[in-house]
Symmetry: C2
Subunit: 188 residues, 2 copies
């Protein structure tokens, strides 16, 4: 059985609900089982809100988990709240412009918001850049399906930007992965 | 404390995830706390999938519930699966074209899909008609906020239809409610 428990965390305005929806929609398209668990409250904006997503190739009995295998943290508060509670061998993707988490071994610190701003002129698309990065790490969802889900679920006027942001995150992560693999075999 | 546990059930293609998103978004706008819990799987289309939504005026400790206070059932399978497991005094809204549930006391059987088709030429908007009906029953979300959420969260090209469908469901339910209240005081 393959199962991945993913926590998407940040402030209420950072589009984590949409990121969860895009991952869920793409995973369903790819034939997986999906649960999403989201909490919102008046305090979420500026705080540490979260969306939990579970993907599996079998029916998911319990959408609850305390220690995700994959954490996305888009701000320092959410890293402080959830970064200490990860599954063994977990990976964390953090926005390096906002989160200080360099000491942790499984952290990928990427300038997600800066990438979205520099490449797409829309820093708000950082969530979708993160979705692209996560897509590579999951190794189960084809880019075409993920990008299409981002397009279809985007708010009015953001269809192309969000699709492009997923592709950007995907390609950057593929390059990093390639670099890591080359290092492992003694290359550059 | 005010809290309402809502189960939205039907087949995978009936837009229950969107209905949950619209309710959640409107409730957040209205200053409430919200959790959503959704399960999707390859078998959902044609079956009995569900989205659970909890609304409260206080922080929600547990998004799980087994017996909702408000059930929406858009097909017979979902009524068969969830109709027997309701909280005391619960209400159930069912699509009368698809669900046989007349014997149950708290049931509102409305031709949701037929209303969407007749008034809006889009039977797929039955989910949003249901959202409007639920909005009246909740008595916490202003119509303007709910309709705006339906507009903003709609898929491309469905913005106006979905907003109009919420308004349709709302107004029909207001009339029914008015009728029930008149009956109670001995009027027509």
């Amino acid at each position: 059985m393959w199962k991945k428990e993913i926590r998407l965390a940040g402030s209420g305005g950072q589009g984590l609900g949409l990121a969860a929806t895009v991952l869920a929609s793409a995973a369903l398209q790819a034939g997986l089982y999906v649960t999403t668990l989201q909490s919102y409250g008046p305090e979420a904006r500026g705080g540490a809100s979260r969306s939990d997503v579970t993907l599996s190739d079998q029916d998911i009995a319990n959408p609850w988990f305390s220690r995700p295998a994959l954490l996305l943290a888009l701000n320092q508060k959410s890293w402080a709240k959830f970064g200490g509670n990860l599954a063994e061998g977990a990976l964390a993707v953090v926005d390096s412009n906002w989160v200080e988490a360099h000491e942790y071994p499984g952290v990928l610190a990427l300038p997600l918001e800066q990438m979205a701003k520099a490449e797409l002129r829309e820093k708000i698309a950082a969530n979708m850049v993160a979705v692209g990065v996560i897509g590579v790490l999951l190794d189960r969802l084809p880019l075409a399906i993920l990008a299409e889900a981002a397009y279809l679920k985007a708010p009015k006027g953001f269809e192309r930007i969000n699709k492009a942001a997923v592709e950007l995150g995907w390609h950057v992560m593929e390059q990093i992965k390639g670099g890591v693999e080359r290092e492992h075999i003694g290359g550059a």
